[in-house]
């Protein structure tokens, strides 16, 4: 018989062997793990999507999770030069007067087959017409579903532009417009103009589950939805009949990690392959297996002058202030070097960008002499309104205002910083109570009109998005002329002239075009981040 002592020792031995085994297993896990993780990509995103239908929202987080992953559009933007490229429509034709646009659809576009829907046909004109009529036709049986809100289309007054959508045959449709609008194609190529399945919608209507169209999405995109747990994860499977060819990975997972440090940790420990909006760029740069990517976004952060109020009704004063502000210092301190200097309101990536426009040179003597010319020899006191929230185009308006305050002190201007709670702030600025204001603008599509009209046109002084309250007839004529033509070279010339007027009049002082950042493990190949719109996982692969 064995003694108790031996028994205890035996148990101890078993226990230790057990622990050693578990440890050993987890250590050698790396080798066996390859099969699944090698074929899957985990993307750490910053938040949960509000809906799975981009038609109904404007938030960037939702766009990232839906548009390019689940859906296709008639046309899209070429990521390299932001020109318009074919999508579901293989070609299109615009009549000379710009009022009729005919789209010729592809015949090989399949919808997703999922646990909740099996399509019986490929995409045709009915689906396209259904998708747009849902937005346009207030009587449409799907219009009120999910609240009847289509914010992007409502903001561009889509229903005013489109008169009718006609079905020519199963694979040809024609948009009839009320008036020519050269930003129309750009609007159709935005992330919001996705194509849904009419067959699925009819099935849901029969089952009386219409709302599910925006919750359990069916699209034609490279991935289909497998499961979604709010606040936790979104799991996508590849769409095996994707018309551009099946993607190279087996699973795409959005690991929803709102905390900045949480995302960074998961990147450093390889739990995430790609992360959104990384912090600690230096730390990421130190690691040879990680890549930090930046893409200039279509936005502008600016200091707007209220041109209706003294002293900024005087162009010399506006110029003096513009020359007195050290832009580079702001870029370093507020954007941490993560932005491009803005010379005009148009970012470099836009085709309307004009090289000939030079930056307002930072020069105190020049600014002083301008101020003397304007008759403010001893300077004056002014207010700078700084927005209270953080935006990509302006991560810290208060710091920016303080820097500007110090700069202006040098030419004898005393600046007071004013800030209100965001809603009050916007209301008061729209009423023109400010003298100068730090604000910004993010474009909805790469068409340059999306910068000109909302920021500086006469009509937008009334709607409230022109915070400089600057109205210049010549400028307005130029941007109207640019919209009425489809000739891009012609438009370029009009916009160059318009930009020259802005540079001469300085209704606002452009500061920066900020960048969007993303970090990834170098095993992940393929472009994800585009200068415009949501992220796109259709071209990724893993080594």
């Amino acid at each position: 018989m064995k003694s108790d002592g031996d028994k205890v020792r035996k148990y101890l031995q078993y226990g230790l062997t057990g622990i050693a085994m578990v440890m050993g297993l987890s250590a050698c896990g790396d080798n066996n793990d390859l099969s699944l993780s090698q074929n899957s990509i985990v993307y750490c995103s910053e938040g949960s999507p509000e809906s799975f239908n981009p038609q109904t929202i404007t938030s960037g987080t939702t766009i990232d999770a839906t548009t390019n992953q689940l859906y296709d559009r008639l046309i899209s933007f070429n990521p390299n030069d932001n020109s318009i490229a074919p999508g579901i429509a293989k070609s299109w034709h615009v009549t000379r007067d710009g009022k009729m646009i005919t789209f010729y659809l592809r015949k090989d576009v399949h919808f997703h087959q999922t646990e909740y829907f099996t399509p019986t046909r490929t995409l045709n004109a009915d689906d396209v017409i259904f998708s747009f009529n849902r937005i346009l036709d207030t009587e449409h049986f799907y219009y009120p579903v999910s609240g009847g809100q289509y914010p992007f289309f409502q903001s561009v007054e889509f229903d005013q532009v489109v008169e009718q959508i006609e079905k020519i045959n199963d694979y040809t449709i024609r948009f009839k417009l009320n008036h020519s609008d050269s930003s129309f194609l750009s609007n159709l190529a935005t992330d919001f103009a996705v194509i849904l399945s009419k067959e699925y919608a009819q099935k849901l209507a029969l089952e009386n589950h219409k709302r599910n169209i925006d919750i359990y999405p069916i699209g034609t995109g490279p991935y289909k939805l497998k499961e979604y747990h709010a606040g936790s994860l979104i799991r996508f499977y590849p769409h095996d009949k994707y018309w551009q060819g099946q993607v190279a990975i087996k699973q795409l997972i959005f690991d929803i990690t709102p905390s900045n440090t949480g995302r960074l940790t998961k990147l450093l420990t390889n739990e995430c392959d790609v992360i959104a909006y990384p912090i600690a760029h230096k730390k990421i740069g130190e690691r040879s297996d990680l890549i930090l990517e930046a893409e200039t976004s279509f936005n502008i952060g600016y200091l707007g002058f209220n041109t209706q109020k003294p002293p900024f009704d005087n162009v010399l004063v506006r110029k003096a202030v513009a020359h007195a502000i050290n832009k580079q210092a702001i870029l370093d301190a507020v954007y941490f070097g993560q932005a491009d200097i803005a010379k005009s309101i148009i970012p470099k990536a836009s085709w309307a960008y004009d090289d000939s426009i030079s930056d307002q040179e930072y020069s105190i003597p020049w600014a002083k002499s301008l101020l003397v010319q304007a008759g403010y020899k001893n300077g004056f006191t002014m207010d700078i309104w700084a927005m209270p929230v953080q935006r990509a185009y302006n991560p810290n308006a208060l710091t920016m205002a303080k820097l500007i305050q110090v700069d202006l002190q040098k030419i004898g201007i005393t600046a007071n910083i004013v800030s209100y709670e965001w809603a009050t702030f916007l209301r008061r600025v729209a009423q023109g109570e400010h003298q100068s204001v730090l604000l910004g603008w993010s474009a909805d599509h790469p068409d340059p009109d999306n910068f000109f009209t909302p920021l500086l046109s006469c009509s937008s002084t009334i709607t409230g998005s022109n915070r400089a309250f600057w109205c210049n007839q010549k400028f307005d004529e130029l941007i109207q002329a640019a919209l009425a033509t489809n000739n891009i070279n012609q438009r370029k010339k009009y916009y160059a002239k318009a930009l020259a007027i802005v540079a001469e009049e300085v209704p606002l002082f452009p500061i920066a075009h900020s960048k969007r950042y993303q970090a990834r493990n170098n095993r992940v190949k393929g472009k994800i981040l585009n200068s415009f719109g949501g992220i796109n996982f259709s071209k990724v692969s893993k080594k």
Binding site: G29, V42, T265, T269
Partner: protein, 342 residues
């Protein structure tokens, strides 16, 4: 034994009644309409609210309101979450197993290391080994858990890259929810990556479980040390010694067994402590348990969830206490004569 059992059940009943009273009064103490706080129906229409008002007797006196609240609890209805609009009971049931899995693993780790080390310290009483063990135990007990958790992530996940930093399992593996205890669910699943998933899940649990285990382990060290010292000084050990048994024989055959009985009791008492530590740790390691769920409910001002979650969690801890008391009493007849619950 009958008297003992009755006394304990009585205690259980009254404590839970008190807890419900506290939980009920919270709906009045939280800001907002008490009826909405108690039901969580923030989206209810005025008509639906009227129905709820009658169901919860909110048109009658507070006593009746409390009574109808008790009736709802007895039927398992704790209202719905204000943020997700899912029943609180469903939510708690889905997060509770993860916490149980984590705390039990931590408890096993704490016992596995704490008790033997405590015995060694007692055997080497007043020698350098004893002093070192006591000093380290003191240090381990004083380290705040949130700091230890972050430090563990920094060292083992980021610097060394040995173990993952967050979650219960890599999201790549699709494990069907059966029991909620991940390691069991993996065994029950028919995934082709079952074995990989099991390894992945075990590597995920090691770090948080060890962090939770540290504080209770140090307590076990001290309890085991005291228990062993008491046993070693008892007369039957001296008798065995004088009979000429070797030191090894005395320790293995007599001392360990008798000292272990004394330790068992404290394991149950450590459970409340363990759950508290687990709540913080779950937050740091993003573990999908009740602690993280409760803390997130606090962030979201989800009063119904806070109310229901606290009630369930405290009742759970209390029930575990009573059960360990019963087990201890069954093992040790002397305890049954103790008149006051401790």
């Amino acid at each position: 034994m009958l008297l003992f059992s009755l006394r304990r059940l009585n205690l259980l009943l009254f404590t839970i009644l008190l807890l419900t009273l506290l939980s009920f009064s919270l709906s009045y103490l939280f800001p907002g309409d008490p009826l909405i706080n108690i039901t969580g129906r923030v989206l209810a229409t005025p008509e639906q609210l009227e129905v709820l008002r009658q169901q919860y007797a909110f048109d009658q006196s507070v006593i009746e309101q409390y009574w109808s609240y008790l009736v709802h609890i007895a039927n398992g209805d704790l209202g719905v979450s204000m943020s997700s609009h899912i029943a609180i009971s469903t939510e708690v049931l889905s997060v509770m197993p993860a916490t149980i899995e984590l705390t039990i693993t931590a408890l096993i780790i704490a016992m596995f290391f704490g008790v033997p080390i405590g015995f060694i310290a007692a055997i080497k009483h007043k020698k350098t080994t004893d002093n070192i063990i006591l000093a380290v135990a003191m240090l381990g007990y004083s380290i705040p858990v949130f700091w230890l958790g972050l430090l563990a992530i920094l060292v083992f996940s980021i610097q060394l890259g040995w173990l993952p930093s967050a979650g219960q399992i890599s999201l790549l593996y699709e494990i069907k929810y059966v029991t909620g205890i991940q390691l069991f669910d993996i065994m029950l699943s028919d995934s082709e990556y079952k074995w990989q998933a099991f390894q992945d899940a075990s590597s995920h649990i090691i770090l948080p479980a060890c962090v939770i285990a540290l504080a209770p382990a140090t307590i076990f060290v001290r309890i085991a040390r005291t228990a062993m010292m008491e046993v070693l000084e008892s007369s039957y050990i001296r008798a065995a010694n004088s009979k000429g048994l070797t030191f090894k024989q005395i320790i293995y055959r007599h001392a360990i067994r008798n000292a272990s009985v004394k330790v068992v009791r404290h394991i149950g008492l450590q459970f409340a402590n363990l759950v508290t530590i687990a709540m913080v740790t779950e937050m740091i390691f993003n573990w999908p348990g009740i602690g993280r769920w409760l803390i997130e409910s606090i962030y979201q001002r989800d009063y119904t969830a806070i109310q229901g979650g606290l009630l369930i969690l405290s009742s759970f801890i209390f029930i575990v206490h009573i059960i360990t008391d019963f087990i201890y009493a069954a093992l040790n007849p002397i305890a049954r004569d103790t008149h006051y619950g401790s």
